[in-house]
């Protein structure tokens, strides 16, 4: 079978996965304690009003019926109504996708921009002061929590230097990008610490590998050997490391979005959980789950492209 054939077969395999995700989402939300209708109407609401709202949203039906409604609506692109925002969930999420997407993509790009040069430098100058300094950086990056890093960046770059906005999200694309720099940097600093460490280790192994020696025996300079042989080989394990961490990042976007008041999906999810906004929690969880699935697909695609030995 062709190495890229999984591009066609993978969507078929996704159907049961998505089904499982929908079941989990639905019942997880149902198992959250607390009554959403009471929360919506306040503690002084009359029992009649509560019953009316329950009926309106189908909350008085048996769970299985509710789930079937849920699936039916889902297949029509209908994710229900938000109790809090009084609007359909899908457009609500659509509004929030852009900041989160920019945060994820920007963080990954910035991570690579930081980690690849640092890891290369550390591996090539192993045991020197440079290597120790870079190790210090990665230890710090792993040690400090993201919210603290974010606040520090705000204090230095926004408050003191006035280079970037303190919080929020812009109107024009340029302004949006400008607003994204510090949040992405916050994530990238933490993420690049992990990636730098792993990349450095695999680079050191590749530098000592037989095929690197064979390349040197061709009379190629060290820079050539590094660029053409060491780097491509050591980046392969990094693809999966990044994929795992980005999956974690999507779920963890809420911290950074809160620190920088970014109107993203993480924020939406947290507010929805606190207000028992069932439909929104369901919707966002579904989108996060699908994003993770897509992410794995992209990671597989990259791995197949980078490593001719891999068959999926």
């Amino acid at each position: 079978m062709h190495r890229y054939a999984f591009i066609l077969t993978r969507p078929l395999q996704l159907i049961p996965v998505l089904f499982g995700i929908s079941v989990l989402c639905f019942f997880l939300v149902k198992s959250i304690p607390g009554d959403p209708v009471r929360l919506l109407l306040g503690t002084k609401s009359t029992p009649e009003a509560v019953a009316r709202i329950r009926a309106q949203y189908g909350l008085d039906e048996p769970l299985l019926t509710q789930y079937i409604y849920f699936l039916k609506n889902l297949s029509a692109g209908e994710m229900g109504h938000s109790l809090l925002y009084k609007m359909p969930v899908l457009p609500l999420i659509a509004e929030r996708v852009v900041p989160t997407l920019m945060l994820v993509v920007g963080s990954v790009l910035l991570t690579l921009l930081i980690a690849v040069p640092l890891a290369s430098l550390a591996a090539l100058k192993r045991g020197t002061a440079t290597d120790h300094a870079i190790r210090g950086f990665t230890t710090a990056g792993l040690g400090f929590p993201a919210f603290w890093l974010g606040i520090m960046l705000i204090i230095v770059f926004s408050v003191k230097l006035g280079l970037f906005p303190v919080a929020g999200f812009g109107e024009s694309w340029l302004s949006k990008l400008h607003h994204m720099v510090l949040p992405c940097l916050t994530v990238a600093l933490a993420l690049s610490a992990i990636v730098t460490r792993n990349l450095r280790a695999s680079m050191i192994a590749e530098l000592a590998s037989d095929h690197a020696t064979a390349a040197r025996a061709k009379g190629l300079p060290e820079s050539w050997v590094f660029r053409r042989h060491v780097l491509p080989n050591s980046l392969i394990p990094t693809i999966n490391l990044l994929a795992i961490n980005v999956g974690w990042l999507i779920g963890g976007s809420v911290v950074v979005e809160t620190v920088f008041s970014l109107p993203g999906m993480g924020q939406l999810l947290v507010r929805a959980i606190f207000t028992r906004d069932y439909m929104v929690v369901q919707g966002v969880t579904l989108v996060f789950a699908c994003a993770t699935v897509v992410l794995n697909f992209v990671a597989d695609l990259l791995t197949v492209a980078a490593d001719p030995r891999v068959k999926i």
């Binding site: 000592a208 061709k218 009379g219 053409r228 080989n233 001719p308 030995r309």
Partner: protein, 322 residues
């Protein structure tokens, strides 16, 4: 004139000497066999010739390597790069691990041509196809874009030879080029090397622990044991009448030398671990002719017969007996 002259080469890991006082001479078009049991220091000797020892672990502790009258130790790194690949081609012991798994075979052959000769991608690719044809890979135009894992062991070994020949070196160092291969492929690869020697006038340093391979291919022979040379001379003389008990023992262990159905003889005991070599003659714990003097004094390499030298106290006695 000799193409390669190695004198007194010693290699050490820290304080421990792994290889001591190795001399090698190789003329143009000559095939020199370097034989010895596993761990005798053949591979690190080869890498030392190219100045490719893992420098944080091993270093050249003494001696000189002269190629076409130039002392390689005096060259700086940039000059040395023009020797590697261009003047000396190297075939490594294990082709599977010495080929980059994620680079196309053709690119691995072509990259030294591109670097050293500044050839365009297209020219270099053309050379790669030509080389693959020369080393006997069928359908080279298609195979040039294959990856190493798509090749069989024998084809990888051929590809490795093509890599080593890319910039038309005059000297080929072949570290056990046939050990990983089955007997028929082994014979093909050896024939290929000899054919290349005849057509291109290559000198070949052929490392092996198989005396059968030596008998088929080499002109002269150097026998190493525990990091030292035991015997050196023309192949014919060495194989017919070994002057050193170690060479003799190696010969007896070759399949085919024993009578059919008889148990294959082996040299008793194990070779010593590197750096823990016994005093006196290094072979004495396993030598059938061991005497007191062997435990005390290390025998020097001394003329045994004609151009042959051997490091044994009883060389002359051996000869007298035979």
């Amino acid at each position: 004139m000799s193409l390669l002259i190695v004198r007194n080469l010693s290699i050490a890991a820290g304080e421990r000497l792994l290889v001591e006082e190795v001399d090698l001479d190789l003329a143009e078009g000559e095939v020199l066999g370097l034989v010895g049991e596993s761990g005798s220091g053949k591979s690190i000797t080869c890498r030392a010739l190219m100045r490719l020892l893992p420098h944080d672990q091993l270093h050249i502790a003494g001696g000189s390597v002269t190629l076409k009258g130039r002392d390689l130790a005096r060259l700086d790194e940039a000059e040395m790069r023009k020797v590697r690949g261009v003047e000396i081609g190297m075939i490594f012991q294990n082709p599977s691990s010495h080929l980059d798994p994620v680079m196309r075979i053709g690119d691995q052959i072509a990259e030294s041509v591109r670097y050293h000769e500044g050839a365009s991608t297209k020219e270099a690719r053309g050379r790669a196809v030509e080389l693959l044809r020369q080393v006997g890979i069928p359908d080279p135009v298609r195979r040039v874009s294959a990856y190493p894992h798509e090749f069989s062991g024998g084809m990888r070994q051929r590809a490795m030879i093509a890599v080593a020949l890319a910039c038309r070196p005059k000297l080929l160092i072949a570290d056990e080029p046939t050990t990983a291969l089955d007997v028929t492929v082994q014979a093909q690869v050896l024939r290929l090397l000899l054919d290349l020697r005849d057509r291109l006038g290559l000198a070949i340093l052929l490392v092996t622990h198989n005396l059968g391979v030596v008998a088929q291919t080499c002109d002269s022979l150097t026998v190493m044991y525990a990091g030292r040379i035991m015997e050196r001379g023309p192949k014919r003389d060495l194989l017919r009448a070994p002057a050193h008990p170690y060479t003799e023992a190696l010969l007896k262990c070759q399949p085919g030398s024993a009578k059919p159905a008889a148990q294959l003889p082996a040299i008793p005991g194990q070779p010593p671990l590197a750096g823990a070599f016994p005093p006196g003659c290094r072979f004495h714990p396993r030598c059938p002719r061991v005497a007191d003097i062997c435990r005390r004094e290390r025998p020097a390499l001394s003329p045994a017969q004609g151009p042959r030298v051997a490091a044994c106290h009883f060389t002359s006695a051996l000869r007298a007996a035979s």
